[in-house]
Structures are given as structure tokens and as C-alpha cells.
Amino acid sequence: MNAIVTAIKEVYGLFVEDGSYAAGILIWLVFAIVVFAHVQRLGGFRAPILLAGLLALLVENVVRSARRLKANN
């Protein structure tokens, strides 16, 4: 049983380190998938929009984490 719990934790840890960051990525992807399926007007901008959202999440999380981790030290 312990081995199974450890294995599940290891697999979870492969993808999630900062919960809010992983949740943000997932929410953005689901939002993009739903919006892109319904709004056809975006056309060729859909791929760059998808990328821009992910990059914004990365920068926001890094800056926030840097501030939080340094404040805790």
C-alpha cells in the first residue's frame, strides 16, 4: 500500500510543484480549448493567443514566487 501511495505521489510530483501554477496552466488550457471551439473569428490568432497566455502565467508565477520565497527566508 505504501509503495502505491509513494508511486502516486511521485507521478503527481512530475507535473505539480506549485499547485496554483499547475492549476493556472490547466484553467488557461481548458478556457482556450472551449473558446477556440466556439469563436471562429480569432482565426490565425488562436495559436499565438494560446502561447501568450502560457508565457504570462510563467512570468507572473516566477515573479510572485521570487517575492514569496525571499520574504520567507
Partner: protein
């Protein structure tokens, strides 16, 4: 040319990521071998490698049956979670927010921990040595398996991905035999930064492909995506440093 671009990227991502993970596994196996004997360390390593190979052999044929569009979206999402996690950590390390990965320190910690436990004299196999080296190889190797399957399966490029991981494995083993101590000269943090960029680029590319978003330049946009991730990551390092300085004031 496009097929080569895909195969080359799958090979490179798999090779670099595997290099990092195998170096980390080697540190623990070396610690186990030097403190508790090489026989059990090698058996644990071999069993771990067999387990990882079995995972690849099981998952790759199973994933071949999944429709390519669905596979690309699912693998793309997982690659984004995985790659952007690596990238975030690498950026925070470069910004000086968290400490750099130190193989020598890990080796020292492992050897002193293993030396504290008295080995059992009843059996020829040291269970602690076997379990520690098995665990090190499987835990570090799990990331390699994921990268091999993810970069290989979504683009139907499993052979170059496996070849990249195998080459990295052979290289690390040969270097380990040659130097007989942790590979502290391998620039792990830089490699992790690079792999995070490649995997994130792969992830967003596959999600876009699976959703038929149409990347400008088609398959070659992978290179452009990697460049964009690199530039934004370098900007993020600067912003994180500035943020730390402001917090310190």
C-alpha cells in the same frame, strides 16, 4: 525535412533530459556502491532499468491506438505541466531565489546516511543498497520514461526518443566508470533550463496541433516556439532578480 525536424527535436529533448536524470541517479548509485558494496547497487540499478524499459514497452503500443488528435492534446497538456515546472524552477535558480542543484552535497548526504545503517550479514544481497539504488533509478528514470513517451508517441517518433535516452544512459555510465565519483562538472541547471524550454515548446505545439490551430510555419514553428520560450524565460530571470531586490529593500 519536417520529419527530421521532429525526430531531431525528440532525440535532443530526450537526450538532454535523460542526461540530467541519469547524472542524478548515478550520484546515488555511486554513494550506495561505495558505502555498502557494488553487487547490490548494480542489481538494484539493473532491476530499475528493466522496470523502466517495461513501462516504455507497455505504454508506447497502448498509446499508438489512441487517435492522434486526442493524443496530441493530452500529451501536450502533460508536457506543458512538466516542462513549465522545470522551466519555473530553472528560472528561480538562475535568479538566485533557490539554491543550485549540487551533486557533491547530495553524494555526501547519501553516503553518511547509508553508512549509519548496519548491513545484514545473513544474506549476500544488501536489501538497503538494492532498494536505494532501485528507487533512485526508477524515480529519476520515471521522468525519462515520461519524456521518451511524450516526445516520441505524440509525433510517432519513439525510436529517436529512445535512442536519445539510451545514448545519454551509456554516456553517463561510461563517465561514471571513468571518474568514479559524482559528475559535478555536468551543467545540470543549464541543461534543465534548456530541457524545460524544449518540452514547453513541444507541449504548446502539440496542443495547438491537436486543436488544429495551425502554427505559422507548420512543424518548423517548434524552433520559433523554443526561441520565444527562451527569450521570455531570460526576461523572467531579470524580473525575478528585480523582484527579489525590491523585497530585500
Amino acid at each position: 525535412m519536417f520529419a527530421w525536424a521532429h525526430a531531431g527535436t525528440a532525440f535532443t529533448a530526450s537526450f538532454l533530459a535523460s542526461l540530467v536524470e541519469f547524472v542524478e541517479a548515478l550520484t546515488i548509485v555511486l554513494a550506495v556502491g561505495s558505502v555498502r558494496g557494488w553487487r547490490s547497487a548494480f542489481i538494484g540499478t539493473g532491476l530499475g532499468a528493466l522496470f523502466l524499459a517495461a513501462l516504455v514497452l507497455f505504454f508506447d503500443p497502448a498509446l499508438q491506438r489512441v487517435p492522434i488528435g486526442t493524443l496530441q492534446v493530452v500529451i501536450g497538456i502533460l508536457l506543458l505541466l512538466f516542462g513549465m515546472r522545470w522551466l519555473r524552477k530553472a528560472i528561480l535558480r538562475y535568479a538566485g531565489v533557490i539554491g543550485m542543484h549540487d551533486e557533491a552535497a547530495i553524494y555526501e548526504k547519501q553516503t553518511s546516511k547509508l553508512a549509519e545503517v548496519i548491513p545484514s550479514r545473513r544474506t549476500a544481497i544488501d536489501k538497503i543498497a538494492l532498494a536505494t539504488s532501485f528507487k533512485a533509478v526508477t524515480i529519476e528514470g520515471l521522468e525519462v520514461v515520461f519524456i521518451v513517451i511524450a516526445t516520441g508517441a505524440a509525433g510517432r517518433n519513439i525510436v529517436p526518443a529512445v535512442a536519445g535516452a539510451a545514448l545519454a544512459g551509456c554516456l553517463v555510465i561510461l563517465l561514471g566508470i571513468a571518474v568514479h565519483r559524482p559528475l559535478t562538472q555536468v551543467p545540470e541547471n543549464t541543461l534543465k533550463f534548456a530541457v524545460g524550454i524544449i518540452l514547453s515548446a513541444f507541449g504548446v505545439f502539440w496542443v495547438g496541433e491537436g486543436l488544429h490551430l495551425g502554427w505559422p510555419g507548420s512543424d518548423l514553428s517548434l524552433i520559433g516556439l523554443a526561441v520565444v520560450f527562451l527569450l521570455v524565460s531570460l526576461l523572467a530571470v531579470r524580473l525575478a532578480r528585480m523582484s527579489v531586490r525590491q523585497t530585500a529593500l
